[in-house]
């Protein structure tokens, strides 16, 4: 390094000077010892000369920074307890921020690696009052808007299939079906071959990841034939490594030409100079096309309320932003508050440290060190702490992001979020900025206060000031940790209320086994017979209360539906609603403990006459004044998912309402149809109520399926409770993280308070001794300390109540469903938690103060 060479040369140059001067004097006849002494006097302060010469080269900051670093490292190494507590609290605070920001950035901010992402908009439609539009359009809508809309330079369409299997591989990849202009309008370049063009059919473009994992980056992959879901395609190219499709929650593995009749999401590119409002206005007028189109094919009276909406989508399609955006925003705020708390905490500790070093600082000021120089040295120490904290925080962040990603992928299939986290310059910048900001936040005030005290009171003892500042810092910490604890209380109350919501069935003790018979010999009637035997086998299994079969199972999140007409009832079109459909085997209702309000359950004797239905209470109430009136009436179902012909069913029973897709949902009209029918069986999930241990029983259940129906695969085993939990992933993540932040906040505030009190007691040993010598009892001393604590905590709580109320209000406004009525208990919880933490923190110092021996204390100083 240049710096080292210059340093060495400077030393050598001065050495030579001294040697020559001595040599000269000796030659002139001086005694060598005297010559050396004279030269040394003449030469002056060598360190100063070196320093001023170094200044010329502008290296001084470097060498003094080096000194500061060494000094800081030594100071921190001398106080391992302080250092490790400081680094640990910073690591947790900074780590939480980096982790949450990483997810926040990936979901909300990172733009797609395409040309001009800022001009891309997503075309959506929604019912008034719905929070969210959907982006499902027909092919003819795509053609119509492409031809008619003047605001866009292009519209591209794509749709996804997450269950595409390539060749004979068992592992599904996501296939994205795209319109021919997709790649060219996004401005992408293939890394091999070419992209899909107009007129292409049976062509496929691979993602870089799929090309790597399945084709070992074979440069000659273009031209290879592959099967996607059993259909042959020819690979024509490979996309660049950074492009993963238009969505942020899944990575497309292969791109195929859009099917001529499928629905698709539409993304448009605004023409230069066209505003969002202008395009919105134009499209709202053109949107009539879709209303007419949908009215022509649907009985749904609500269709004409549909509205057109548009959203910028340079950061990817909006689904994930909707699903995770708000929770992650709230968590971002909570983690920032946590870091703030850690900074206050550390500022308190550093202020105390600064006071302890008052003498040293005064002496150094007296010896001529400049304020700036000392300030820089203090800040260097803080920077070293922050750097250590950030380095450890990066590890914390790495682990937490992995945890968060696992959490997000634990959702139901249609809500799973597979985020592609990539460390990039933005994240690095965030980490460095956090580090520097943290340094200033916790380091500046203590440094300034230490300098001010030192210069004000020279080497005199100082009282009052730093403790006063310490008290303010503690009160702020109390306030912040109270807000964090209250928010944690709110979110966990929300989660608890979700988990205890009455869903219309009893969720505990239910095991769900999803069966896939497609690779077995069980087909048609043979499957019905096999499944029936399987259910009977489970029914007789020890520990099993009841077993049945259904599709879909409650809160699975996907289901069928259709439109119904009840014989003899005339209905206004506005009153018609879609009817959700479940297929159920006999004993389904008793297994889930869904009450039958009238009529009977399905039975295996319905097999031949399977045109029977059980309706739910909401559907029954709409048409009949009494559940019993419904029995024997006929309902004709039309436009049922995957069915072509209308079918008429006889109502044999009325069951209680249950939740269908979500924990929080409006009452819906529901209908159960027989899963078993002469042509086979519809539905593929065993529903078993057992008293046995779930984990052990799950393994046994797999064996039973393998024995009774060989060849039928068990694709998933999970408890109903887990299935319900997988429908509330963001809520669970919120509760867990806010609980963690809240606990950590209390711990930090407690440690801070303890530190302040312990320090204050140790500084006042003298005073306490005098008081005791004058007759104060240990109890009075302890009371005095406790009272002082209480004043600080009370000030903090006074500040914490409005702060908590504000954050609770903000939290419940951002997160639909979180009720601010839970605010009072949450607030009480926050207050109680902080009081408890304070009491724990105050106990030891108060006790120690009461144990001060007057004689010892008076000798103390």
């Amino acid at each position: 390094m240049r710096w080292w060479r210059r340093e060495r040369e400077l030393r050598e140059e001065l050495d030579a000077h001294i040697k020559m001067a001595i040599q000269d004097r000796i030659e002139r006849g001086e005694d060598p010892a005297a010559a050396r002494a004279a030269v040394r006097t003449e030469f002056g302060n060598r360190g100063l000369i070196e320093e001023t010469t170094r200044d010329i080269w502008g290296w001084r900051w470097l060498s003094s920074a080096g000194q500061d670093l060494r000094y800081a490292a030594r100071g921190l190494a001398n106080q391992p307890l302080f250092t490790s507590v400081a680094v640990a609290s910073l690591a947790l605070g900074i780590g939480a921020n980096i982790a949450i920001f990483t997810v926040f950035y990936t979901v909300m901010l990172r733009t797609l690696p395409v040309q001009d992402p800022d001009r891309l908009v997503e075309l959506l439609q929604k019912y008034p009052g719905e929070p969210r539009g959907n982006g499902y359009w027909t092919r003819s809508a795509y053609d119509h808007y492409r031809a008619a809309a003047r605001s866009f330079s292009a519209i591209i369409g794509s749709s996804w299939d997450h269950q595409a299997r390539i060749d004979s591989s068992a592992e599904p990849v996501t296939a994205e079906y795209v319109t021919p202009n997709y790649f060219s309008e996004l401005g992408l370049r293939p890394s091999i071959g070419r992209f899909i063009l107009e007129g292409d059919a049976g062509t496929a473009v691979l993602s870089d990841a799929l090309w790597t994992t399945r084709f070992q980056r074979d440069p000659g992959v273009a031209g290879r034939k592959i099967l996607v879901k059993g259909v042959p395609f020819t690979v024509i190219g490979v996309a660049g490594p950074s492009f993963r499709g238009l969505r942020t929650d899944v990575a497309s593995g292969v791109w195929l030409p859009a099917k001529p009749d499928g629905g698709m999401a539409l993304v448009a590119r605004l023409k230069p100079g066209v505003t969002l409002e202008h395009a919105q206005a134009e499209m709202s007028a053109l949107y009539r096309f879709t209303i007419d189109e949908r009215l022509a094919s649907s009985n749904d009276p609500l269709v004409k309320n549909l509205q057109f909406e548009m959203e910028p989508c340079g950061a990817g399609l909006s689904g994930t932003r909707d699903y995770l955006g708000r929770p992650i925003t709230v968590l971002m705020a909570a983690s920032a508050a946590l870091l703030m708390l850690a900074c206050l905490n550390l500022a308190g500790m550093l202020t105390a440290r600064g006071t302890a070093r008052l003498r040293e600082v005064s002496v150094r000021l007296g010896l001529g060190a400049s304020h700036g120089r000392l300030l820089r040295q203090f800040l260097t120490e803080s920077l070293v702490l922050a750097a250590l904290g950030t380095a450890a925080g990066a590890g914390v962040a790495y682990a937490s992001v992995a945890w968060l990603l696992r959490m997000f992928t634990s959702g139901r299939p249609h809500q799973q979020v597979h985020l592609d986290i990539q460390p990039d310059s933005t994240l690095l910048l965030f980490a460095v900025a956090t580090m520097l900001l943290t340094t200033l936040l916790f380091g500046l005030a203590p440094a300034v206060s230490a300098l001010r005290q030192a210069s004000r009171s020279a080497a005199l003892r100082f009282r009052g000031g730093p403790l006063g500042a310490g008290r303010t810092l503690i009160a702020l910490q109390v306030a912040l940790s109270m807000a964090l604890a209250a928010s944690a209380g709110l979110f966990s109350a929300h989660l608890r209320s979700l988990r205890s919501t009455d869903l219309g069935f009893q969720r505990d003790g239910i095991l769900l086994l999803s069966l896939d018979p497609s690779r077995s010999e069980y087909r048609g009637q043979k499957r019905a017979a096999g499944y029936r035997a399987l259910i009977e086998r489970f029914q007789n299994e020890p520990g099993v209360d009841s077993a049945s079969l259904a599709a879909p199972t409650p809160l699975h999140g996907a289901g069928a539906g259709g439109w119904g007409t009840v014989e003899g009832r005339i209905e206004q079109p506005e009153e018609r609603r879609r009817i959700s459909i479940s297929y159920a085997a006999p004993r389904y209702f008793s297994t889930l403990k869904i009450p039958l309000l009238a009529g009977r359950d399905f039975s295996y004797s319905d097999l031949a006459n399977w045109r029977v239905a059980v309706i739910n209470s909401t559907l029954a109430r709409h048409y009949f004044s009494n559940p019993n009136d419904a029995i024997g009436k006929r309902i004709t179902m039309d436009r049922v998912t995957l069915a072509r012909e209308p079918v008429t069913y006889e109502i044999i029973g009325v069951a209680g309402d249950t939740n269908y897709g979500e924990i929080r949902e409006d009452a819906y009209r529901g209908l159960y149809l027989a899963a078993f029918r002469d042509s086979g069986v519809l539905g593929g999930t065993l529903v078993i109520r057992t008293r046995a241990n779930m984990a052990g029983f799950a393994a046994r259940a797999r064996r039973i399926v393998a024995e009774s129906t060989p060849g039928v695969e068990v694709t998933q085993v999970r408890t109903l409770t887990d299935q319900i939990d997988s429908s509330i992933v963001p809520e669970r993540a919120m509760a867990a993280l806010s609980g963690f932040f809240g606990g950590l906040g209390l711990l930090l505030a407690g440690v801070g308070l303890y530190g302040l009190l312990a320090y204050s007691v140790s500084r006042r040993t003298n005073e306490i001794g005098v008081r005791m010598a004058l007759g104060a009892t240990p109890g009075r001393i302890a009371t005095k300390i406790t009272r002082e604590t209480f004043v600080i905590v009370a000030a903090g709580v006074a500040l914490g109540v409005p702060l908590s109320l504000y954050s609770l209000k903000a939290g419940s406004r951002l997160l639909p469903g979180v009720e601010s009525t839970n605010a009072v208990p949450a607030l009480a919880l926050g207050g109680a938690a902080i009081l408890l933490a304070s009491a724990a923190a105050a106990w030891v110092p108060a006790w120690r103060a009461s144990r001060v021996s007057p004689v010892e204390a008076l000798r103390h100083d």
Partner: protein, 116 residues
């Protein structure tokens, strides 16, 4: 007496040291100690260059590009850093000398116009 000897010395004016160094180097390459000795001898022991001023000045001049340095071995087998005037240093010296002459003329005129 030490005090008396001290009074005979003259504090160098700001900036004049640079000129003196450049002037000294006019005569050929020299190391720091040699420059100090030359100035001392040339001023008949009137001007003593402090080491604390000399080396910062040398490094400053080198950074300006008016002098260059190289390591050489002296006649006494002592390895030392030798400084050499560059063409731009020579130009700088000429400028400084002319400014110095103006200044001394002006000051002499002032002092001469108002006799003590």
């Amino acid at each position: 007496m030490a005090a008396g000897k001290y009074q005979n010395r003259i504090e160098l004016l700001q900036g004049t040291l640079d000129m003196l160094i450049l002037q000294t180097l006019c005569w050929g390459t020299q190391h720091g100690y040699g420059i100090a000795q030359a100035i001392r001898a040339g001023s008949r022991e009137t001007l003593h260059v402090e080491t604390g001023s000399l080396y910062p000045a040398l490094h400053r001049l080198e950074k300006q590009g008016w002098i260059l340095s190289e390591w050489k071995t002296s006649e006494n087998k002592q390895r030392a850093k030798y400084y050499k005037l560059t063409p731009s240093g020579r130009k700088q010296l000429a400028g400084e000398v002319s400014r110095w002459n103006q200044l001394t003329t002006a000051i002499s005129g002032l002092l001469g116009g108002e006799p003590a």
